[in-house]
């Protein structure tokens, strides 16, 4: 879990420098069960951090402590350099929580829900009205904004649930499995809005047990199981960690052996196997290598029919680390 960005950890002031969220040694017990066992993480502005773990891993418990809903038994949490806990009031202004379970008033319309929570965040007037429109637009609910939310579909409710969490432009947005049980269209809308938000500079903490989501959204991923973070890093780092390598498969007509020779000379390529018209290359990071590979193959006169990239996924990382599958 080496991480160059965490070199300043010994000095708390310096460690939190630039970090929107800094969590260290977080512990929470329920009776005999240690639901969260020494979790640490750091998220910077514009970064999306994924907490990837199966049911009961301790994701919601971790988030509840960060959002100040639950006291921690040990550990520290700081948001924008300020300590965070259930009794802190001011710091909560900087956090937007999207709970795992829906948290909206069914009798109110989307606009009313947003206005209510926006006001409680201290917003008012034009600024609030404009922000409500902006957020409704982001989650694609503008056309149903004035209907009572009890008549919404499950996916629409989930989208509104997210909108409420970001109405006040928090520095840190915490989303707890926001896509569970939604239709593909809503799911896509949700993922797109999270991408847009991190593009705006929000720090995002995103829990999920869908590895595709973690892979698509997250700059860094922490793999959590039984309350502990088993590994952390970028997607590639995690895959490298388990010795995983990418494979590029080229199929084409022409001087196959000659191409193989030329490809072997490339620094990014580990191994090249030849089997009929098919070349199988072992590389470290396929997306950054593929262009070079294709150009080299073309230069040697290979006419490509097909290029295929095969990557080990986070599922295999998870399996490797914990000995179990992400989903039952």
């Amino acid at each position: 879990m080496s991480d160059g960005q965490r070199s300043g950890e010994d000095d708390p002031a310096r460690a939190s420098e630039g970090a929107v969220l800094l969590v260290e040694g977080l512990v929470r017990r329920f009776g005999d069960l240690t639901a969260v066992d020494g979790v640490g993480l750091r998220i910077e502005a514009g970064q999306t951090y994924g907490l990837l773990g199966p049911n009961g891993a301790g994701k919601t418990t971790t988030i509840s402590m960060i959002a100040g809903l639950l006291p921690a038994d040990a550990g520290t949490i700081s948001v924008l350099g300020r300590p965070m806990g259930p009794r802190e009031v001011e710091v909560k202004h900087h956090i937007g929580l999207v709970p795992q379970d829906l948290a909206i008033y069914p009798e109110l319309t989307a606009r009313e829900n947003l206005a209510f929570f926006g006001r409680l965040q201290g917003m008012r007037g034009r600024q609030l009205i404009e922000r409500i429109d902006e957020v409704l637009d982001l989650i694609a609910l503008s056309d149903r904004a004035d209907d009572a939310t009890k008549d919404y579909s499950g996916g629409m409710k989930r989208r509104l649930n997210i909108a409420v969490g970001l109405i006040h432009r928090p520095a840190l947005l915490i989303l707890d499995e926001p896509t569970v049980g939604v239709d593909p269209q809503s799911r896509n809308a949700i993922l797109r809005s999270v991408e847009a938000l991190s593009g705006e500079g929000m720090a995002v903490l995103y829990t999920t047990h869908y590895m595709e989501e973690a892979a698509r959204l997250c700059d860094r991923i922490g793999i959590i199981d039984s309350g502990r973070i088993r590994a952390e890093g970028t997607r590639s780092e995690l895959i490298t960690l388990i010795g995983g390598v990418d494979t590029i498969r080229l199929t084409g007509a022409g001087p196959v052996e000659e191409s193989a020779e030329a490809l072997r000379l490339l620094e990014a390529v580990d191994k090249v196997g030849v089997e009929g018209r098919c070349l199988t290359l072992t590389v470290h990071d396929a997306p950054t290598t593929v262009a070079q590979v294709v150009t080299t193959a073309a230069r040697t006169g290979l006419a490509l029919d097909e290029v295929e990239i095969v990557r080990p996924d986070l599922e295999s990382v998870f399996l490797h680390l914990t000995g179990k599958a992400l989903r039952d």
Partner: protein, 394 residues
């Protein structure tokens, strides 16, 4: 502070949109009041507006030959100042027949061996049969009888204690008679005249308003329980609010709804059912105190209930028990220690307070009911703080 108003206002708006509030706080109680008052008033008007209007009561009494305390009881009744009582000594069968035919208002049966039973310290059991259609005078008489029997019992116990076992008959009679002649009428008049100032309809309106108050206040505080179910509780806890703000806003919602609905119900009573509750200021004081008691009690319910459905059940049970015991459906008269307990019931205290105001009492005359209402508010508030929160998820 701003957050408190935002939450209170939003909840109030939601409540007004929600038809069940209007239904429970206004429509149902107002209809019930009207229906009940019509039912009660189709017979003879039973309103008591003062001791002057009490009409004579005839009692047919069956007392065993030579039963000293039985005779003492009758003597005590005929000596009552406020009631004109005509006692006819007769056999048990005839007494029953007289009450059955309505010739006597009340039949009174003193059992064989009554005096000995009292002396032995066993509870005296005297039964009565009330003629149909009798009014508040009989009500009054019954509670006097109850009080007298109570005194017999206490007197016997005291005398037994004093003489360490052997109770001279004469002494017991003396104690009993003294007690019977003095105490019950005094205690009775002190404890009761005020509430008897309310007409039958007035008592109904007061009782119904009191009962439904316990439904109405639920719409504020019990939202604490339902918000756990909608998940909004979690969200509220994540907002930059001081923790007391959420609870205070729910209390405020209950309070506002309670005051508004009770105000409307009493006004309906005054304007449509012709009830005279007295001056507005002391009435307002009573309403404010009663709503405080109701709101506070809801916090106990919110603590005990795991789900919103459970909360509603608890609340309904509480409201019905307090309402029944407070005379929301029919006048309830018991005497002795039970009466003292019933007097602590906020609905009863509210009705009693309205009895005082309707008799012309001002704020300073409302000491007892106000103390009971505020006391109950304080006790239940403290209780809600001490009780574990059964519905909390974590």
């Amino acid at each position: 502070m701003r957050a408190l108003w935002i939450m209170t206002f939003s909840d109030l708006r939601l409540n007004l949109r929600n038809r069940s509030v209007l239904l429970f706080a206004l429509v149902i109680p107002a209809s019930l009041m009207t229906v009940l008052s019509i039912t009660y008033n189709t017979g003879e008007a039973t309103g008591l507006t003062g001791s002057q209007s009490l009409s004579p009561v005839s009692v047919a009494a069956a007392v065993p030959e030579g039963d000293r305390l039985g005779t003492t009881l009758l003597t005590a009744l005929t000596h009552l100042n406020d009631l004109d009582i005509d006692v006819e000594l007769t056999s048990a069968d005839r007494a029953r027949a007289l009450a059955g035919s309505g010739e006597a208002d009340l039949a009174l049966f003193v059992p064989e061996g009554f005096t000995d039973a009292v002396r032995a310290g066993r509870g005296p059991t005297v039964s009565t049969v009330r003629a149909d259609g009798t009014g508040a005078e009989v009500e009054l008489l019954l509670s006097v009888i109850g009080g007298t029997l109570e005194q017999f019992h206490d007197g016997a116990l005291a005398a037994r204690a004093a003489t360490a076992g052997g109770v001279p008959a004469a002494e017991l009679d003396q104690v009993a008679l003294q007690a019977a002649l003095r105490e019950p009428s005094v205690a009775f008049l002190e404890g009761r005249t005020s509430s008897e100032q309310l007409s039958a309809t007035g008592a109904l309106v007061a009782g119904q308003a009191g009962l439904f108050l316990f439904f109405t206040v639920g719409f504020g505080v019990l939202a604490l329980v339902s918000e756990r179910e909608t998940g909004t509780w979690t969200r509220l806890c994540s907002l930059p609010l001081r923790p007391w703000t959420i609870v205070a806003s729910k209390a405020l919602v209950s309070y506002v709804l309670g005051v508004a609905s009770t105000g409307v119900l009493l006004t309906v009573g005054i304007l449509l059912l012709d009830v005279d509750f007295g001056a507005p200021l002391p009435i307002a004081l009573l309403v404010l105190c009663a709503v405080a008691a109701g709101t506070s009690l809801m916090f106990v319910v919110a603590r005990l209930a795991r789900t919103a459905e459970q909360a509603n059940l608890f609340q309904t049970a509480l409201a019905m028990i307090l309402g029944l015991a407070g005379g929301a459906f029919f006048p309830l008269s018991v005497s002795g220690p039970l009466d003292a307990i019933l007097d602590l019931n906020p609905v009863a205290a509210f009705s009693r307070g309205l009895g005082i105001t309707s008799g012309g009492g001002g704020p300073t005359d409302l000491g007892a009911p106000v103390a009971i209402l505020l006391g109950s508010a304080a006790v239940t508030a403290a209780l809600s703080l001490l009780l574990p929160d059964r519905g909390r998820a974590t």
